[in-house]
Symmetry: C2
Subunit: 146 residues, 2 copies
């Protein structure tokens, strides 16, 4: 009964995971040059996106939005604090919560960051419908988390 197993499903090209993994790394890598100019890494950048949107937000809520845990966020937020872009303060009504807030420098950085998505977007050769379809499917995958 054995000897003739079908290993087709183990081919690199026959699993969705690999193109997803490779495309993610490829796109993230395109942020490197523009982000180097403003001195942020990719993860620091998406963290700043969240802080810019909320002005004040807890580590817990950043984690929910980015799907990252404290093991990733704690050292990253300390680094952003060192760079002077954010402040970290315990919430006075619940000392378990750590609130992250924007500094003046952090707010100023936002203007410089405006160029980043522009520079990346023009390297992506997809039709608008392809982008929106892609986003819809990806959100479906992410949404399956909960």
């Amino acid at each position: 009964m054995s000897g003739e197993k079908n290993y087709e499903c183990l081919r690199l090209g026959n699993q969705m995971c690999f193109p997803l993994y490779a495309a993610s790394r490829e796109i993230v890598s395109r942020y490197k040059a523009p982000l180097d100019e403003i001195g942020l890494t990719y993860t620091q950048y998406i963290t700043m996106l969240v802080v810019w949107e909320h002005n004040v937000i807890s580590v817990k809520d950043i984690g929910k939005l980015l799907y990252l845990d404290s093991g990733t966020l704690t050292p990253l937020l300390k680094k952003l604090e060192q760079k002077g872009y954010i402040e970290r303060k315990r919430d006075s009504s619940d000392e378990r919560l750590l609130n992250v807030s924007l500094t003046e420098e952090g707010l100023a950085l936002r203007d410089k960051a405006l160029e980043v998505p522009e520079k990346v977007a023009c390297t992506i050769d997809l039709a608008p419908e392809e982008v929106s379809f892609l986003c819809r499917i990806l959100h479906k995958l992410i949404g399956e988390k909960e």
Copy 2:
């Protein structure tokens, strides 16, 4: 002239990069449980996929297929060698090349690995057309590398 800048493009939801990054991590994380059972990490797994397909392949060619460099592959391949799944030998006709080949144990592991893509696939709630469309677009993104 300033004061009323449009920061819409800096919203987390308005860039393709984030859902791609999040979905990639989400899907890779679904491999963890099945891969734990056979003692491989995700990157070790896709490396074994390539070795299973080729039986003998150089580090250079593995890198081309997975878009990974020696900084990632060298320690990973040493670990796979320690586990007894592969052998590493310099190519006799070009000593710069390091050929990776399957051991008996490595070949046997392939049968156990057959369950992995099955277990992951059934956690992905996408229609077949969605999967194929997704793969097509992702390959378009990856293909832009060259």
